[in-house]
């Protein structure tokens, strides 16, 4: 099937000080085509689409939209010409309702009543149920994404750009989103779909352009390729699957029973009666869509949120009422998701950030004075062991790229010889090779007898590393089940299916 060309990108180059984000990138998208832009973190996908959306401008190269020159200087111009974008991170106000949020994104919003009616009409047409009067703060991540999508669809776009749309969705929600996208495509709206999830791309996309280090390395028809082939094109090397040493399951190292805590975060999710145990040598994977209590669970395990003493036990010892320092001493280390400001202090050096959590277990204080020489040695040890690319340990944490800082922070927790390790999003924003090595070290620690809890939104990652599997849904944890033999359907049901979407699609 040949389609009339919608957008042509030719020879686009964009450089930032010290890095070339895009180098001579060319591809074209036909009307109604679903086109994947595929690549690892830092391959230049986001830079490319930001140029198409008018957020930044190319240094050189040209774009044409339906044969006419296309050089948007701002997003409003791109929208006027029929290009819309749904961002990975939503820009919504939680304290406003759906219609108000949509109105904020429009140049000349119609009266609220009329807008609400249009939102209802569009949401029904595309099977994306959404009540315009609901507060955004009360919506699930999937529902918030619908707000963003509907905001775009109201402009009747010719090209819809979607940046990693499925990272916040349950498998069922993904299916429903794909249905909507296919419907849009059949109506002639082209979709530029950014992702690094290969199976998704194989099931959804017509064509794919693969980027590596800012350059187009291949283009292909995803249905004709295997996921592994595309992954190797993306990474530029053959991939190693992490190997696991099967450790004999030991006694219970971490026990949590009926743990309930109120969320300290505005619009956060309180934990409700969480219970699980992790044995020595076991990896428990906790899945769930973002915002279902993952951050709160980490805070409650790290000791930043306290509970009754016997709610959390490390090696049989009650630690629920202890703070982070005492819990580390008891043998529990934790790694929060947010690197900048929570797991690390961005303006402090790597040495100081190493002291941040390792001071207790690595015995880096004497009479309250910090052993900076010993801390520096530990920081250098992490840098060497985890291949952290940095000019040295005295560099501020924020000067490192996200992936490099993540490697440093993972190393910091994994190298303390703790009996219990809790990690939220171990490989968020890390390239495939580094992610594989982080997963490998998690498995290595488990092989040495550590009990590990991995909280992640990446199902593939959890299936790869975990022995048992549970889902966090609206602050409640399902009963952990052995990972082996679980099907995607079962996982989807554990995740609570699709939030409020079944009805609409059955009806439509």
């Amino acid at each position: 099937m040949t389609r009339p060309e919608l957008l042509r990108v030719e020879g686009i180059t964009k450089a930032y000080p010290g890095v070339v984000a895009n180098s001579d990138v060319s591809f074209s998208i036909g009307e109604g085509e679903i086109h994947a832009l595929l690549g690892e973190n830092g391959a230049g996908k986001s830079t490319m689409v930001k140029m198409i959306y008018g957020l930044i401008r190319p240094d050189s190269g040209t774009m044409t939209l339906r044969g006419a020159g296309y050089a948007p200087t701002k997003p409003a111009e791109a929208r006027r010409l029929g290009v819309a974008m749904v961002f990975q991170h939503f820009s919504l106000f939680e304290a406003l309702n759906v219609a108000e949020n949509v109105a904020l994104g429009m140049e000349s919003p119609p009266p609220m009543r009329e807008l609400a009616a249009r939102i209802r009409a569009v949401s029904e047409e595309y099977g994306l149920p959404l009540d315009p009067s609901r507060m955004v703060g009360d919506l699930s991540a999937g529902e918030r994404q619908r707000v963003e999508i509907i905001r775009c669809l109201l402009q009747d776009p010719k090209l819809l750009i979607m940046d990693e749309p499925t990272s916040v969705l349950t498998p069922q929600e993904v299916e429903i989103l794909f249905k909507t996208l296919r419907q849009l495509s059949s109506e002639g709206t082209a979709i530029l779909y950014i992702s690094h999830k290969l199976e998704e791309i194989r099931s959804l996309c017509d064509e794919a352009t693969i980027l590596r280090r800012g350059k187009v390395v291949a283009s292909c028809t995803p249905r004709e390729r295997t996921a592994r082939e595309m992954a190797e094109l993306m990474v530029g090397a053959s991939l190693k699957t992490p190997e696991r040493r099967v450790a004999a399951k030991g006694e219970v190292a971490l026990g949590v029973s009926d743990l309930s805590v109120d969320s300290p975060i505005a619009f956060g999710t309180s934990l409700k009666g969480i219970s699980f145990t992790v044995a020595k040598g076991e990896v428990l994977g906790i899945a769930g869509v973002a915002g279902n209590g993952q951050d709160e669970l980490l805070l409650a395990l790290s000791g930043e949120l306290k509970a009754a003493a016997d709610k959390v036990r490390v090696a049989g010892r009650p630690v629920g009422d202890l703070g982070p320092v005492e819990r580390r001493r008891a043998g529990l280390v934790a790694a929060p998701e947010d690197r900048y400001g929570h797991a690390a202090a961005p303006d402090m050096s790597l040495v100081e950030n190493a002291f941040l959590t390792a001071g207790v277990r690595k015995e880096l204080t004497r009479n309250g004075f910090v052993d900076w020489a010993g801390t520096r040695a530990f920081a250098e040890e992490i840098i060497a062991a985890y291949d952290v690319r940095t000019p040295g340990p005295d560099v501020a944490a924020r000067a490192l790229s996200g992936g490099n800082l993540q490697k440093f922070l993972m190393g910091r927790e994994l190298m303390q010889g703790a009996g219990v390790i809790v990690i939220n999003q171990p490989t968020w924003g890390v390239d495939a090779a580094a992610a594989a090595s982080i997963r490998q070290s998690i498995l290595d620690r488990a092989g040495e007898g550590a009990a590990v809890v991995v909280i992640s939104q990446d199902l593939d990652e959890l299936l790869e590393v975990s022995d048992s599997f549970a889902v966090l849904n609206e602050g409640r944890l399902t009963k952990p089940r052995p990972t082996e033999g679980l099907t995607m359907d079962e996982i989807g049901l554990m995740m609570g299916g699709a939030h409020g979407m079944e009805v609409a699609h059955h009806a439509g």
């Binding site: 580390r328 929570h342 501020a396």
Partner: protein
């Protein structure tokens, strides 16, 4: 510190697009050069802007600047004025170091002036209560009482903050005015000199050797308060760079969530920082009332507690920097007094001049974390 400028969306280097604009760009790491260059640049800018102000008032700007910055150290009366420098710098340094520890942790004690007054009243009360006993233990006990008075006054905003989440800036500031009222009561009532012929004010400590903070070395203006200031400067520097508590203070100020993750209890940190700054301010008040001031009087406090805020920032919240900044600020005090008596400059003009110093300091400080970029493109 000052509000952070909004982050620019990106830097456009393409010559084809739009007009050239100046843009603030966040530096990947803070600039070491500007960290140290900021104070001298701010001083020079203050001299220029101050000079314009003085010229507008009909004074010769060069003469005024010279009177303020040069004469106290090298002029005709330098033999006396040099001593005055440490006398003024001592309390400023002592208070500013305490404040800086809190500011580093994001805890804003603005009421050092009140803690300074309460330190003076507590210290003086102990001495006056035992008058005219002679014992070498009297003065040390007065020192402890002075520190306790300041600490106690700082605990009020600290505990209100940790218990009821009140704003420590407002509470500590308001307590300054309460302390001033108590000071007036003390000098006209419970601490009034019984032999003072009805005039307000306490007995003068210059007539009570056991409780007097006499000069240890007069040509330099050195008394126990100066010694305490310099020793505190070194101790605070060691605390911040070598001790775990100093690390926690810096961490809490830079990344509060990371501090909680590290294991810092925000409430304990508030109590610690408010307590240290209150105690140091109280010490400064106690050394002042028993030394240079000599007695409790209605107008005993002269704004050291507020000026110390400027000193803390001028010294980059770094204890050793604060020692230098304390001397610089003392220079503007001593020189400012010279300028007002010799050249007839109003006090308010000198205060504006000191305020300019903080203004330019915070303004130039942007360059530590941001740089200007010539950029092309629409905003």
């Amino acid at each position: 510190m000052g509000g952070q400028p909004p982050k620019p969306p990106g830097i456009f280097v393409d010559r084809k697009w739009g007009p050239v604009v100046l843009r603030l760009e966040k530096r990947p790491t803070p600039s070491r050069f500007w960290l140290y260059a900021t104070p001298p640049v701010a001083v020079i800018l203050t001299m220029i802007a101050g000079g314009i102000l003085f010229a507008a008032m009909g004074k010769n700007p060069v003469e005024v600047i010279r009177t303020i910055f040069w004469d106290p150290m090298f002029g005709e009366f330098a033999f006396y004025l040099r001593g005055q420098l440490l006398v003024k710098a001592g309390p400023l340094i002592l208070i500013a170091i305490g404040l800086a520890l809190g500011f580093r942790a994001g805890i804003w004690n603005i009421g050092a002036e009140g803690q300074y007054i309460m330190g003076a009243i507590f210290g003086a009360s102990v001495g006056l209560a035992v008058f005219p006993t002679e014992s070498r233990w009297i003065f040390p006990v007065m020192i402890v009482a002075g520190a306790f008075g300041g600490w106690l006054w700082a605990m009020i905003p600290a505990i209100l903050k940790t218990r009821f989440n009140t704003n420590e800036i407002l509470v500590s500031l308001m307590l300054v005015y309460v302390a001033e009222t108590i000071l007036a009561k003390a000098s006209t009532g419970f601490l009034k000199n019984p032999e003072g012929m009805g005039f307000p004010g306490s007995r003068n400590f210059s007539g009570y050797p056991a409780a007097q903070n006499a000069f240890l070395y007069e040509p330099l203006g050195l008394h126990w308060g100066g010694v305490a200031a310099l020793v505190t400067g070194v101790l605070a520097w060691v605390l911040l760079t070598r001790h775990q508590a100093g690390f926690q203070i810096r961490l809490a100020g830079q990344a509060p969530r990371a501090a909680r993750f590290h294991g810092v209890s925000p409430a304990r940190l508030v109590v610690l920082c408010m307590g240290i700054s209150g105690a140091l301010a109280g010490l400064a008040g106690m050394f002042e009332v028993t030394g240079p001031a000599g007695q409790i009087s209605i107008d005993f406090n002269t704004g050291y507690g507020f000026t110390a805020i400027i000193v803390a920032f001028l010294g980059r919240l770094n204890p050793l920097g604060i020692v230098l900044a304390g001397f610089l600020m003392a220079l503007t005090y001593v020189g400012g007094e010279m300028a007002s008596t010799n050249l007839g400059l109003p006090d308010a003009a000198i205060q504006v001049f000191q305020g300019m110093l903080l203004f330019f300091l915070l303004g130039v400080d942007v360059l530590t974390n941001y740089r200007f970029r010539l950029a092309v493109g629409a905003l």
